[in-house]
């Protein structure tokens, strides 16, 4: 069981403690100030990339994929790779540029103001990477990171994706309680030296571009959370193939595809985490399932929220332009009160989304996946030492299993339940807020622009199509509301039952 260190005595009447509701204040003195500089740098890089690559081509790319649904925008992936975006948020100890995870959200917001599909082409890679990190398999993380870095140097992008969804299991996958009642089918049979995997994954973003697929499987499909394993499959593994590429309504630049594993052998070195690796921990394998999921999602949902903020802002900017250039019965739209108020609503939506992802970033930095790397001395050490030196210093950590054991002990056994709940709750709230507001801004935008808004060349209709997906992936917004309830509202009440609707 997870350690329960939370006592209602610390909390306000609704059961929330000061840190629960004030991650930002908690972070003021404790988070390294240099992160602000990183954020500025990340925004600057994103803006340059937008100006040269994304904005001039976003509509053409969307049109091209409308025309040929099988088209894969390799040119964008290669360009992002050349710019170093696939190693930028890999910690220096694994050979990456070591930007803090906080800055990726700002970066993704910026890219999403032009094309959220492009933002996903970068963001999903880090979802795969977060899986490696959350499983705390340092050797495998290092191995794969080095390949990503080599891919950058040799101009052959090496991307990661994250594959959990199956034809019969979407919502069920990310909650242990639901998974155990669900219909999961990706079976990993233990064999000498590894696993023989059979199963199909669907809707996997970036699958067609990825070299490494981070896949979730189960030794016993009847007991998924007790027997889960995450493993990495290389694109050229025998028994592995890509299936159909989906024809999506929006976010067309980012393909979503099927992964097929037929008697695919996964050697032990490519297993991120399984029952054997967690046997010596006091936390149950089932609880680790939830910790890993919650840690990954706390990080990636900040990203989804920031993409929502990006869309909200992109639409807002288009509407602003429209209202500044359009006359209604002779009056400039911008001078009509109802337009002014709608623009204020739209800007509010941008601001709220940004505040939400800022808060989950603070939470992650203080209590979540980024915590370790944002401890000031460690952060500054890693920040100012050259990558090579950091790699040499941290090499023992990735080589000697004892370090792996210590890290896992810290991350799984010593993990405080309330910290996990805090990050999970905020991430879920940020996710459904950012995505709902993005859709709302698109709808306000379209209702303001009339037929002009419905035309492809004016960008807003693309934002509208793109934004809807944010309410679905990373768990539907319904599930995210339930997760927010579970993590922040129902957590200390023993009369609460989750996923037991009758």
């Amino acid at each position: 069981m997870l350690k329960k260190t939370f006592f209602p005595g610390n909390a306000d009447p609704s059961g929330l403690s000061f840190p629960d509701m004030n991650c930002n204040l908690m972070a003021i003195s404790r988070q390294p100030r240099a992160i602000t500089k990183e954020v500025r740098k990340a925004i600057k890089l994103a803006r340059e990339f937008n100006e040269t690559v994304v904005r001039p081509n976003a509509l053409d790319m969307d049109r091209k994929i409308h025309e040929d649904p099988d088209y894969l925008p390799w040119e964008w992936v290669r360009e992002a790779n050349r710019q170093g975006f696939y190693t930028m948020w890999i910690p220096k100890m694994f050979g990456g540029k070591g930007y803090s995870f906080t800055s990726i959200a700002y970066f993704l917001e910026e890219i999403s103001t032009c094309c959220v599909g492009m933002a996903n082409l970068i963001g999903v890679h880090y979802l795969g990477f977060a899986t490696l990190i959350a499983a705390w398999n340092l050797a495998l993380t290092r191995r794969i990171s080095l390949e990503v870095i080599k891919g950058e140097k040799t101009d052959t992008p090496c991307l990661l994706d994250f594959a959990i969804t199956e034809p019969g299991s979407g919502t069920d996958t990310s909650e242990a309680d639901l998974a155990d009642k669900g219909n999961l089918a990706c079976h990993a049979a233990r064999e000498n030296g590894g696993y023989r995997v059979n199963g199909t994954k669907i809707f996997i973003s970036n699958a067609h571009f990825s070299t490494w697929h981070l896949v979730l499987g189960y030794e016993d499909i009847k007991k998924p959370s007790d027997t889960f394993l995450f493993f990495a499959v290389r694109k050229d593994a025998s028994g592995f193939s890509l299936g159909r590429k989906e024809r999506k309504m929006g976010q067309k630049a980012c393909p979503a595809s099927e992964l097929i594993l037929r008697d695919c052998f996964v050697p032990d070195e490519q297993v991120c985490v399984d029952q054997r690796q967690t046997a010596n921990l006091s936390t149950s394998h089932r609880d680790i399932y939830q910790i890993i999921f919650d840690s990954i999602c706390s990080s990636s949902k900040a990203g989804v929220c920031s993409m929502g903020a990006g869309i909200s802002r992109g639409v807002y900017e288009e509407v602003l332009r429209f209202a500044s250039n359009t006359r209604i019965n002779g009056s400039l739209m911008m001078n009509l009160e109802w337009v002014q108020c709608r623009l204020a609503d739209m800007l509010r939506n941008v601001a709220v989304s940004r505040l939400m992802y800022a808060e989950i970033n603070f939470a992650n930095g203080m209590f979540g996946l980024n915590k370790m790397l944002q401890i000031k001395p460690l952060y500054y050490l890693f920040r100012y030492l050259p990558i090579k030196v950091v790699q040499v210093l941290s090499a023992p950590m990735t080589r000697f299993p004892v370090f792996q054991k210590i890290v896992r002990k810290m991350q799984f056994d010593w993990k405080k339940r309330e910290e996990l709940e805090r990050t999970t709750g905020w991430a879920s709230m940020a996710k459904f807020t950012g995505s709902d507001l993005a859709v709302e801004n698109c709808r306000i935008g379209l209702s303001l622009m009339g037929q002009t808004g419905t035309r492809h060349e004016n960008r807003v209709e693309k934002f509208f199509r793109d934004s809807k997906l944010l309410q679905i992936y990373e768990g539907t917004n319904q599930l995210n509301r339930l997760e927010a309830f579970k993590s922040l509202i129902g957590r200390n009440r023993y009369d609460i039952q989750m996923f037991e609707d009758r």
């Binding site: 969804t165 299991s169 024809r247 999506k248 309504m249 037929q451 509208f464 609707d501």
Partner: protein, 372 residues
């Protein structure tokens, strides 16, 4: 309603449903790919052969004498399967109604008495442009040999298929615009590429460039806003019927899916949060149907205000319902293989029918309550 009328309704109901299921459905996905793939004409030809393009015309021209209830029945059934075709039919009715409002019955009759073919039965019209809101870009000039039109008419629905079109244009000296009938097959008419749009893909739309093109003034000069306003009052409910069709289709598919998809060990329809989503959808669908039925049965001045009051919320609700319709299908709902994403786009696109959504609301309260 007498027995004959009831029978007529029944017949219209069943023929429009049959048309939707048997003719539209098989082509829906393929035609939605337009303009990135060809637009199969079968559905248009079939609709023509079933006299759907004549629905709004007076009885003498083979129509239903402008019976809004009947038109709504047909459009709702068709939109349940494919809102694009319903929009094509409504566009035709809008153009016809402008001519009726302008007292151009002879010209209308002339169009429909000509050697029948689809091309001649269609009248292109800028269905999403409201001349009460925005001044048309197209300019008219009186020349010795008649009126000449120059400039761009944007968003001409059916502009690439119809032989005739109704446009709004302004004489420089007039404060208000006028309506014109133009024949498409003239050298000075340059039809642009298909507009790539959010939804209603199989309802082809183009921008048309005119260069000193001869046009026939419809009705009187400078009265376009008036004709448009009257047409709007008479046909606004038909737009709501299309929205209601989208909603009904979305709800039907969502309900069916929720009763077969299993998550967490049971049908998703058994989760109360899903039930609430379904309930919100069902209520909005039923409300829309009731509002349309109620307003459709009214007559006189009340009918116009009530039709507008019924329609505007229905257009908004269609966007909500179509969004929830995707949500219930989860990731599958986002894919083009399922019709929910199409309905989502169509519903949002449709919201701009007759002009900018918020302006229609403001216009409603102004005209109902005599606000300045």
């Amino acid at each position: 309603m007498n027995q004959t009328e009831k029978n007529e309704y029944k017949l219209l109901y069943s023929t429009s449903r049959e048309f939707s299921q048997k003719v539209l459905l098989p082509y829906r996905e393929e035609n939605d790919r337009y303009p990135f793939a060809g637009l199969d004409q079968t559905v248009f030809e079939k609709a023509y052969s079933m006299d759907f393009f004549h629905l709004w015309l007076p009885e003498s021209m083979g129509g239903l004498e402008g019976d809004i209830g009947k038109l709504c029945t047909v459009l709702l059934n068709i939109a349940e399967i494919d809102a694009s075709m319903a929009m094509v039919l409504l566009t035709n009715a809008m153009a016809q109604e402008i001519m009726i409002q302008a007292g151009e019955m002879d010209r209308l009759s002339e169009i429909y008495s000509r050697n029948g073919s689809l091309k001649y039965a269609l009248i292109a019209f800028p269905s999403f442009l409201n001349p009460l809101e925005m001044t048309p870009e197209l300019m008219a000039v009186e020349k010795e040999n008649g009126v000449r039109l120059s400039g761009l008419s944007k968003g001409m629905v059916m502009g690439s298929m119809a032989e005739n079109m109704i446009v709004f244009a302004r004489f420089p000296e007039d404060p208000d615009s006028s309506c014109f009938l133009i024949a498409a097959s003239q050298e000075t008419v340059r039809i642009g590429d298909p507009v790539i749009s959010l939804g209603l893909h199989a309802c082809p739309t183009v921008d048309i460039d005119f260069n000193e093109t001869p046009g026939i003034l419809i009705g009187e000069r400078g009265r376009a806003s008036e004709y448009y306003g009257n047409m709007y009052g008479r046909l606004v409910l038909a737009g709501a019927a299309i929205a209601a069709g989208i909603m009904r289709g979305s709800f039907t598919d969502a309900l069916k899916y929720s009763q077969s998809r299993i998550q967490g060990g049971k049908k998703i329809a058994e989760w109360s949060e899903v039930q609430l989503l379904l309930a919100n959808m069902a209520l909005k669908v039923r409300n829309a149907e009731m509002l349309i039925e109620y307003a459709g049965a009214k007559s006189g001045k009340d009918a116009i205000h009530d039709s507008i009051a019924a329609s505007i919320p229905v257009l908004d609700h269609a966007c909500d319902v179509a969004s929830d319709g995707i949500q219930i299908l989860g990731g599958y709902g986002y894919m083009e293989d399922y019709s929910q994403e199409k309905r989502y786009r169509d519903a949002q696109h449709l919201q701009s029918l007759f002009g900018i959504s918020c302006l229609k609301k403001i216009q409603y309260v102004k005209s109902c309550y005599k606000l300045a």
